[in-house]
């Protein structure tokens, strides 16, 4: 039974309104994009296919394709837009999970209670998992609903896999932000450093097809392992899922070590 006074539940509860607004807005947008496929999607996809500019293709995503519902959904939603939205949410939560309480001083209330630092952190990380899961899950339901309503022919299993990959992507950046905050002790620095990594990772991912010297750098980009476009086109790579999982475990481990060994407070 869920204890509604737990740290986990308290963290979810304090964000329920903003999560609800995000879910409603993104679901409505998803259904609208699916609805638009028949009217403008085909044309936009043809435009994408006909463009000869490698730069434009790179910035849309190296694997973006048009002409199919999967390509349209990747181009409009799952390629860049949803991962960035989810990263914004999870980075905000990750950096603030300990950071906000540390800055406001409420962390002392928890630390003065008979619970270990690792338990506090575990409940915060569990809340992050739920927060990162809710939006892709609701969006998945919206895609299913949209495809039924507007005869949008897409492989639902691929969307499901893409949602799983998106969840891992969101969790990774949330954990990365949490790790940066626990190391630097500053929430704002945690957010800034993680946002810089998101920006850098995005450019590594988009530009590696244009610049040979960037090719090895793609392996440091979570966008490369997430790659919603490829998954929607039925080319999910289990190795990429595994790498993201490893990244999550690594960042969490550093966070646990750092938080349990350091002075808290401001």
């Amino acid at each position: 039974m869920i204890n509604k006074n737990s740290i986990f539940f308290n963290n979810i509860n304090s964000r329920k309104k903003s999560l609800l607004y995000w879910c409603l807005a993104l679901s409505a947008l998803t259904i609208f994009i699916i609805y638009m496929y028949d009217s403008v999607g085909q044309e936009a996809s043809k435009l994408l296919e006909s463009t000869e500019s490698d730069g434009i293709k790179a910035f849309i995503g190296p694997d973006a394709q048009g002409g199919t519902p999967a390509g349209w959904l990747g181009f409009e939603l799952y390629g860049i837009f949803l991962p960035i939205c989810l990263a914004i949410i999870t980075i905000g939560y990750g950096a603030g999970a300990i950071g906000s309480e540390e800055e406001s001083g409420t962390l002392e209330l928890l630390l003065a209670s008979p619970i270990s630092r690792s338990k506090i952190l575990t409940e915060k990380v569990l809340a992050l998992l739920i927060i990162a899961t809710i939006i892709p899950s609701i969006n998945f339901v919206a895609v299913c609903l949209g495809s039924l309503l507007f005869n949008f022919k897409i492989a639902i299993f691929d969307v499901f896999l893409c949602s799983i990959s998106l969840i891992l992507f969101g969790i990774f950046f949330g954990c990365f932000a949490l790790m940066m905050q626990t190391i630097t002790k500053k929430r704002s620095l945690g957010i800034s450093l993680t946002a810089a990594y998101v920006g850098g990772a995005y450019f590594m991912y988009t530009l590696y097809s244009l610049l040979d010297w960037l090719e090895p750098m793609k392996f440091f980009s979570p966008f490369y392992y997430y790659d919603g476009n490829k998954i929607l086109q039925g080319a999910a790579d289990p190795f990429h899922f595994t790498i993201m999982l490893v990244g999550i475990i690594f960042t969490c481990s550093i966070t646990y070590i750092s938080f349990s060994k350091r002075d808290t407070g401001i």
Binding site: N5, E108, A112, P114, S116, G265
Partner: protein, 299 residues
Amino acid sequence: MSIKNPLSIINFSKNYDKFTAVDNLTLEINTGEIFGFLGPNGAGKSTTIRTILNFIFPSNGSINIFGLDSVQDAVQLKKHIGYLAGDIALYEEMTGDQILNYLADLQEDTDWDYVKDLVKRLDASLYQPIKTLSKGNKQKIGLIQAFMNKPNLLILDEPTSGLDPLMKQVFYEMVLEMKQAGKSIFISSHDLTEIQKVCDRVGFIREGKLIAIEDLYDKNSMNFKKYKVQFEKKINLKKFTIIEGLKSEYYNEDTLIFTVTGSIDIFIKAIARYKIITLDEQETSLEDVFMQYYEKEVQ
């Protein structure tokens, strides 16, 4: 775990790079004792408390609570410690009731009848969001959460901050009840009067160093008072400087401030030789106490 040896701080130091916040502090409090920890802002009081509670780690030395180590056994120990932070931070969006329930669930058992009693005595507002409460009302919630599990060791940092005189009195009663129940209380403050009201012993800390520990039941400890005397006309200060146990300084032209150590008889006899307009006892400040210790050290 025994409730004996509630707190032993042994050669504790805390350094931040080159700055030493607390320097080689050693003190012990006894079971059923109210110990005051007195010092100006930045003296190292909060650093000591935050280390006792394992929020920060000692650079040197160790802290034992009920015979257990404050770092290794932190989780087990906190079942027996109640804590009120100085300038307490509470969850602003929650109500007092929600906060108490939240924190109670992190503990083992909470006696809700006792909590209700505390709420009633402190006249606390439990059903308004914290962000709408005054500092005093937030302090009441903080006090309730510190006391609510009837801890064997209470650590209170500036506990009466923001409380009105009536509520301060209620707080003193609560503390004395805990003492009667055999609990130990560690109160950090910069208010000498408050410490003198409730504490059995007091430790003075300044610039990270423990200057002295005094037993407040010992009549000879901190046995000095300050008086402001207005004379009919200007008196030469030199007339008093030779008298042992008496220190004087000008307040203004015809008024002197006397610090009297030991018997008041010498002081009364010394000023009785002149015509006095007014005689007022002054509140002894923390600064005065520290000055006394410095002078003792110099002597």
